[in-house]
Amino acid sequence: MSYTLDFSAVIERLPELLLAALATIGLALAGMSLATVIGVLGVVARRSRFKLLRGLVIGFVEVIRNTPFLVQIFFIFFALPQLGVRLNPTVTAIIALALNGGAYAIEIIRGGVDAIPKGQIEAGLALGLHRGQIFRHVILKPALRTVYPSLTSQFVMLTLTTSVCTSIAAYELTSVAQKIEADTFRSFEVYFSITLLYLVISSLMMGVFALISRISFNYPVK
């Protein structure tokens, strides 16, 4: 084939792509912050005395983890309005990412909590701390530390998942790329460029994650 790559069309619209990349980062950050909160609260609920609450959390996790993200985001966007809840694409995207990431986060963080030696909890009890205090002051931080690598790689996946949000017309990198592709038919140039952009974004995320880890988990372990 005598196709010659010509990036001029992409370069011309690079500002659009970079802006969209920022939007992708924004969606990812919002999604993962909320996912962390859902993860922690979910683990608390998962350990609660109330069977119904535990069951709800388990059901939530199973449904989310075993269905495609596309289906989830479709339902929030297209089906919820029939129940009177109408959310714009960006809000929908953030909620869908948060729920999806949250379900994984619940499972991951729960693993970390389960891995905390029983002695730590007993030491807390023996000192007179209550269950909530023990979770907050004794368990949470070491648990997050042990699962930090899995949690962050899940979050990198979440970042890449933002590309699916294009299907509900959310503004992010892939949707802008597709628009540019449609306008110019420069498919290769556009897709190569955003592959690179995604790689930069995920590398950036990993760097930030490493930094956060160094700051928050600065205590030595044997």
């Binding site: 005598s2 966007f77 297209f78 109408r86 509900i168 017309a169 306008d183 498919s187």
Partner: protein, 245 residues
């Protein structure tokens, strides 16, 4: 390959869209169908070879053409000057009568009324191109396909949609008497796409199109899928050459 190669092999590989009824789609028996498929078949007959169809999505139709995975695209491609920089269009063979559809109780008379309005369009479609150009300050939401676009209107996620002439029926089935066409967008023409510089394909297709336009075959196919008459095609479009240099 070249036209000669295709003739020697006895097949021409034609890319159509897989999910864009009634233009080009795969029906529930897994067989390609629609206007583009029928024109493709006619083209194969014209060449005296068998047609091999490759159903494509919006995202991969151009790559499939450029990498030689298909010989020619009959893939519902609206002809624009910018796109013409990348691929070689043939003469137009179909016209898109595009309109804006909206609820009956909403007053929309033209592009100016779309200011700040949430408008749904199918991604990479002629409607997208037209509304993007016509109503710069509209809030355009681009969905993956017609089904999602229509669903967005029904769910109230957008206030109006840009659609083709089939939207009227579909909307009426889903929500009787609720929606109506508001105004027509500039008509866009579809052309077949070939790799730039490949004169043989371009010339063959143009000759083929001239033939079916003249002998009424296009009119028959048009009537079958579009349920209307063949529009009058322009002799030329600004910055969109129909013939390869």
């Amino acid at each position: 390959g070249t036209v000669a190669e295709a003739k020697a092999k006895g097949t021409v590989v034609i890319g159509i869209q897989g999910d864009n009824a009634p233009w080009g789609f795969v029906n529930s028996s897994g067989v390609q169908d629609g206007l583009d498929a029928d024109i493709g078949k006619a083209f194969a007959d014209y060449l005296g070879v068998k047609a091999q169809f490759v159903p494509l999505a919006v995202a991969n139709r151009i790559p499939a053409l450029m990498t030689g995975k298909v010989d020619v695209l009959f893939a519902t491609m609206g002809m624009t000057a910018e796109r013409a920089k990348t691929i070689q269009y043939s003469k137009p063979y179909a016209g898109n009568v595009l309109s804006v559809y909206g609820p009956k109780d909403k007053k929309i008379g033209g592009y100016d009324d779309l200011k700040g309005v949430a408008v749904g369009v199918p991604k990479s479609s002629a409607m997208d191109t037209a509304i993007s150009a016509g109503a710069k300050s509209a809030n355009i939401l681009r969905f993956d396909d017609d089904a999602a676009n229509i669903q967005a209107l029904l769910s109230g996620q957008v206030e109006v949609v840009g659609g083709n002439q089939f939207y009227g029926d579909r909307l009426n089935t889903a929500a009787p008497d609720k929606y109506e066409p508001k105004f027509d967008l500039t008509t866009l023409y579809n052309g077949a796409g070939t790799r730039p510089g490949e004169k043989d394909w371009n010339e063959t297709i143009n000759a083929f199109l001239d033939k079916i336009k003249a002998d009424g075959e296009l009119a028959k196919i048009y009537d079958k899928w579009m349920k209307r008459e063949v529009p009058k095609f322009p002799e030329q479009l600004p910055d969109i050459p129909f013939t390869a240099q």
